[in-house]
């Protein structure tokens, strides 16, 4: 591998270049189905938010959607010998839509209204290595793969007039696999408009609820798997 890595040095004399990019975008299905043990044990949903929605005449229920998240971040890219790139980023993400509504559940033979709230936030540091392909004079496509350090916090709340109140908070980290495809359109020799698609795949082991005081202890994994659609701007330190 060392020979392969060093081979371009003899072939291409072009210097290294660095770029910094700022991105913002959205994440559909943030946290995936947001499963937790109590949703299965108490409310009869084996697949989290997907199975929690139920309705019954006489109850004012409302749809609980999967979360849509917003994300923003910074990215540093080192371009080596025109064709190869190392990318290191830092991103923050948070739910901005969905994850709130009313359903019903069976409380020992009595149907009750249940108000549900899901929240998810965190940050990640992806490191990927890949290939940069110049496309005409004013475009670059970068395709890279790697791994990220991802930290997340998933919170849920279930409240009924039983009276019942379950609150859960799950914090943990994982190292999801990362794929990134990035396209850049150069407005001049140093500044480019950028668009990026990322795919993360990784799930933690089961994490114990850290929320104290509600008398219940829940368990849930954190799921970082999903797509991210981003727009941004890049600045290259040397002209392309």
């Amino acid at each position: 591998m060392a020979a392969i890595a060093l081979a371009p040095i003899a072939v291409y004399a072009s210097p290294f270049n660095q770029a910094i990019s700022f991105y913002a975008g959205y994440i559909p299905s943030l946290g995936d189905n947001l499963y937790s043990y109590e949703q299965e044990n108490t409310f009869g949903s084996t697949n989290g938010v997907d199975g929690i929605n139920k309705s019954l005449s006489g109850f004012n229920t409302s749809q609980i959607h999967r979360l849509i998240g917003a994300t923003a971040g910074i990215n540093l890219k080192i371009v080596m010998y025109d064709f190869f790139a190392l990318r290191i980023g830092a991103n923050y993400f948070k739910n901005v839509w969905g994850g709130k509504g009313k359903t019903v559940y069976d409380d020992g033979g009595t149907t009750r209204l249940l108000e549900c709230t899901y929240r998810y936030d965190g940050f990640d540091i992806p490191v990927t290595f890949g290939i940069v392909i110049p496309f005409y004079k004013d475009m670059k496509i970068t395709f890279s793969c790697g791994i990220a350090y991802a930290w997340g916090r998933y919170r849920n709340k279930f409240e009924s007039d039983a009276p019942l109140l379950y609150r859960g908070e799950f914090k943990g980290h994982d190292y999801p696999l990362v794929l990134n495809v990035e396209g850049e359109y150069f407005m001049d020799e140093k500044v480019a408009l950028a668009t990026s698609l990322s795919y993360y795949r990784g799930t933690t082991t089961v994490i114990k609820d850290s929320k104290q005081g509600d008398g219940n202890t829940d368990y849930a994994p954190l799921d970082f798997t999903g797509y991210r659609f981003l727009l941004g701007i890049s600045y290259y330190f040397k002209p392309i």
Binding site: I4, A7, P8, V11, Y35, Y37, F83, F84, F129, G130, I131, V132, I133, P134, F135, I141, F143, S144, C145, G146, I147, Y175, P176, L177, L179, V181, Y199, R201, G202, T203, T204, T205, V206, K208, Y219, P221
Partner: protein, 226 residues
């Protein structure tokens, strides 16, 4: 289901034959051989079963060492023929996670699993500079998956293995190192689910195996002169 397996194998063989014949007929494209290595997470999609075991362990046992959802190295080889904007490829890859274990008080569990895949891909390439490509493709996959779960206290052992038809799509890029050698980066997503497979130990229980997963692959490719 056997008909499906046979159909996939015959289709892959037919595609390979067409590539070779096409190469002899026109000799306008390029042949290359590639070696791939990379990573995948959760081969044979054990995550639902692992999370279920972990959750049960955490809610019932006092001392738990959870099963981690495994990462696994992937090794592969492929033969590719490309001409103009088209790509035809036959590959083979193998992956098996090193150690998948868990403990809950006196209960111990060990999962052994591997997956072998034979993807046949048809795709489009975007030639941007000499030997610099961006490519997209999709195709059928023949998979063979093996899964053994062994637990002590209470003791049980199950073993499932079968061939699984599936499909995949790929996205990647390639850049030159020399005039004949290139470096590639590639993502492959694959889907596939077995019919219920009979447990080889008890001969009664059945379960399905999903080969749904993602592979991140780095490759070195050698172009054969024509």
């Amino acid at each position: 289901m056997k008909t499906v397996h046979h159909t996939i194998i015959i289709t892959i063989a037919l595609l390979l034959f067409i590539f070779i014949e096409h190469e002899h007929a026109f000799a306008i494209g390029e042949f290359s051989i590639g070696l791939n290595a990379g990573l995948t997470q959760d081969p044979n999609h054990l995550e639902p079963a692992i999370t279920q075991w972990n959750t049960q362990a955490k809610t019932t046992a006092s001392d738990v060492d959870q099963i981690s959802i495994p990462y696994s190295f992937v090794w592969g080889i492929n033969v590719r023929y490309q001409f103009n904007y088209f790509l035809f490829r036959i590959g083979a890859h193998f992956t098996s996670p090193y150690s998948v274990r868990g403990e809950a008080d006196s209960t111990r569990i060990k999962i052994s699993t591997y997956q072998f895949g034979l993807p046949a891909t048809v795709g489009l390439i975007m030639p941007l500079k000499q030997r610099a490509y961006f490519f997209l493709g999709a195709g059928l996959t023949y998979n063979y998956a093996y899964l053994e779960i062994k637990q002590t206290n209470p003791d049980f052992k199950v073993r499932y293995a079968d061939s699984i038809p599936g499909f995949h799509y790929i996205m990647g890029a390639e850049a030159p190192l020399t005039s004949k050698i290139t470096l590639s980066v590639e993502w492959m997503h694959q889907e596939g689910r077995s019919i219920p497979i009979k447990d080889e130990v008890s001969g009664t229980d059945k379960r399905t195996i999903s080969v749904k997963g993602d592979f991140l692959l780095f490759g070195v490719n050698y172009y054969i002169g024509m």
